[in-house]
């Protein structure tokens, strides 16, 4: 495994008013790997992603990029580092076309004027590179695309830039079997090309099919981050739903749970015993 992770979170806290949604969350993301982030509904996965991308500011904790602490104050900061996010609630503008969406906020210009031909060419090349053949015209409004096509546009938007980390929040949730397979293949290829990929999914089959590591969130706490090859399906489900599985995961209420620690370099147990 590479020496320094590309992206590392340490002790991230986030509250919405009185509700603490993230508690002391750690996460490491390596280049060339797919890191799956799993957890039940409301565990805080999307919130964590939005903290990484600067949509929300975290209340505490550190973000290290390439080993250096960085401050991500907004979407532009994240983009400047090379962090791109495909959001669960797809962030596309229905009234704009595919090219306009892919370059939104980062339009190419010549002087004052938008450089449409260049943007259109770059968009076409990127989509061709992702083997997208189903869109009729790059100039059609995004509203006229199917769910899978929209998802592909969102992913293409993320890889169009010299991105180093691509975070996908449930990219296959709304897709059919064939399109899910396509998107997963795409996810794998991104990692094989050296990008660091974070994949959020509720589908364990998908997670086990493409990920190298699995990070498990339980009620806003990171219970474990393990190599995919070192855990079983059942263990992951248990960790997600109960916060612990055998010796893995959160410490027990009576403080006996530190148990067997995993041997991974990336191992992460939590803020155990917050209630001790």
């Amino acid at each position: 495994m590479s020496a320094t992770p590309l992206l590392e979170l340490r002790g991230i806290d986030k509250s919405f008013g009185p509700v603490q949604v993230l508690r002391n969350v750690d996460l490491t993301v390596n280049p060339g790997e797919v890191t799956a982030l799993v957890g039940d509904n409301g565990a805080g996965k999307s919130t964590l992603v939005k903290c990484i991308s600067g949509i929300y500011s975290s209340d505490g904790g550190e973000v290290l990029f390439d080993g250096r602490p960085v401050h991500i104050g907004g979407p532009r900061d994240a983009a400047a580092l090379g962090i791109e996010v495909v959001y669960q609630d797809l962030a596309l503008c229905d009234n704009l076309d595919i090219v306009q969406n892919m370059f939104l906020g980062r339009e190419k210009r010549s002087g004052l004027v938008l450089d449409e031909p260049t943007m259109e060419q770059m968009a076409a090349e990127t989509l061709a590179g992702l083997s997208v053949r189903t869109v009729k015209s790059l100039r059609q409004h995004v509203s006229s695309l199917s769910g899978g096509q929209r998802q592909t546009v969102a992913i293409a938007k993320a890889v169009l830039w010299n991105s180093r980390v691509v975070i996908l929040d449930e990219p296959t949730a709304a897709l059919g079997v064939a399109q899910t397979a396509q998107v997963l293949e795409l996810v794998r290829r991104l990692a094989d090309n050296g990008l660091a990929v974070v994949l959020i999914s509720h589908n364990m089959n998908d997670v086990f099919a493409v990920s190298d590591q699995i990070a498990m969130l339980y009620l806003g706490q990171m219970v474990a981050q393990l190599k995919t090859s070192d855990v079983t399906h059942a263990q992951v489900v248990e960790l997600i739903t109960a916060g612990r599985s055998g010796g893995l995961g959160l410490a027990g209420d009576n403080g006996n749970g530190n148990g067997k620690r995993d041997t991974q370099t990336t191992e992460t147990t939590t803020s155990a015993g917050a209630d001790a």
Binding site: A79, D89, N95, G105, V113, G129, L138, L186
Partner: protein, 420 residues
């Protein structure tokens, strides 16, 4: 900005879609219209029908003199509507635009008539007043978070009062400055009108043809050359006919000559070109559409949403100031009603009739001009028919309702056919 990592994976050959032909272009257009994206079609059809009806009922509707009147009557509303398009694109509303134009006109009259400043100082002051008004409204909406409906409703009332205060109650401040009066009441010499028209058409043709050549050279999908040519020829015909008619003698009196394009016309055309350029060709314009289409997506794309929201109110009030100056020029005076009564509703109506959506995200500057023309024709035609202004209001209200229904229905249709 980083370079693109195009094709992080092995490219798969994508069969290029067939090049569009005139036929396929027409079919695409019809499909768009059928799918609820009507664009300017309702306004253009409405304009033709209304003109036909009035021409039959009142032959003097179709005189040169009345044709020129349409422009000067509709100018202020068109200009205010142009600014409103920006606000409507964000799904916001500015109810104060009418009285904002009144306030700016009152500032103008104060300075030029009562204080004796030269016209350009007064004009500059009126424009600055517009910008300040827009900044305040935009700040209250974007930073404080008060709905624009409420902020501008409050401003609507307050500005009405400010106009009264500025012109000291019920009096009427006349505007006699030659330059200011000329804006709405004088015409360009016929040769100048023709020359400007030819320059404008030639410029349009050059831009269109260059773009076509550029895209073809880059191997991008381009609309067929025939379509581009048809557009250029149509514009030339329409502009040429309009200017020729306006260049005819329209004075009933042998002693004074009255001919040429009214000076407000090039003002409207230039502002139409500038704002269309801003909306369609600059990143700022793209961001306005994005914020109107999906504010959260725009925010995540790193767009400063608050700044965009403030800016549209500034543009709107700025255009209201220009509308106010034009209105003051036309009446050669400013009174408590300048920018009041029907001005705001006509301006909102103009934008909506032209095809700008009240739901945000959809609209163009030319909508303001087309819709403004529809409103001007109704107002003028009803006047010629000798209908009371009560009747005119009712008809205009119905037309606005019709336009809003078209807007709402085309949205539903678009949602059903997945067009928008």
């Amino acid at each position: 900005m980083s370079a693109p990592t195009t094709a992080p994976v092995q490219p798969v050959e994508v069969p290029p879609p067939p090049a569009p032909t005139v036929g396929s272009h027409l079919r695409d257009y019809l499909a768009r219209v059928g799918g609820g994206d009507m664009g300017a079609l309702p306004a253009v059809l409405g304009l033709i029908v209304l003109c036909a009806v009035f021409a039959i009922l009142r032959p003097n509707f179709m005189t040169e003199g009345n044709f020129a009147n349409l422009f000067t009557q509709g100018a202020a509303v068109m200009l205010i509507a142009m600014g409103l398009v920006f606000v409507l694109l964000l799904g916001e509303i500015d109810l104060s635009a009418g009285f904002a134009s009144g306030v700016c006109a009152a500032v103008l009259a104060q300075l030029v008539t009562l204080k004796g400043y030269p016209w350009y100082v007064a004009v500059a002051a009126a424009l600055v007043t517009g910008v300040v008004i827009g900044l305040v409204i935009g700040f209250l909406v974007a930073k404080i978070g008060i709905p624009s409906f409420v902020v501008t409703l409050a401003a609507f009332l307050a500005f009405q009062g400010i106009v009264l205060l500025l012109i000291k109650g019920g009096t009427n401040v006349s505007v006699r400055d030659d330059v200011l009066v000329a804006i709405s009441n004088r015409n360009m010499p016929p040769w100048l009108g023709s020359t400007l028209m030819l320059l404008g058409v030639a410029g349009y043709a050059a831009v269109q043809l260059l773009r076509h050549r550029n895209r073809t050279a880059l191997g991008l999908i381009t609309e067929p050359l025939a379509v581009v040519l048809i557009r250029i020829v149509s514009l030339t015909l329409i502009a040429g006919t309009a200017v020729s008619i306006l260049n005819l003698e329209r004075s009933r009196n042998q002693l004074v000559s009255l001919k040429g394009v009214p000076i407000v016309v090039p003002i409207i055309v230039i502002l139409l070109i500038i704002w269309t350029f801003v909306l369609q060709r600059t990143a700022y314009g793209r961001h306005v559409y994005a914020v109107g289409g999906n504010r959260e997506a725009a925010r995540r794309a790193g767009i400063n949403v608050d700044r965009i929201r403030i800016s549209v109110f500034v543009i709107c009030s700025f255009m209201a100031a220009i509308g106010g100056i034009v209105a003051a020029s036309r009446a050669s005076s400013v009174d408590a009603n300048t920018g009041g009564s029907k001005v705001l509703l006509y301006a909102v109506g103009a934008a909506v009739i032209g095809g700008t959506s009240l739901f945000g995200g959809k609209g163009r500057i030319v909508d303001a001009v087309l819709g403004g023309a529809v409103i001007a024709v109704i107002d003028n035609g009803m006047g010629l028919l000798g209908r009371s202004s009560g009747f005119t209001f009712v008809v205009t209200g119905l037309v606005l309702l019709l336009a809003a229904s078209v807007d709402a229905l085309s949205r539903r249709r678009a949602a059903a056919t997945g067009n928008r």
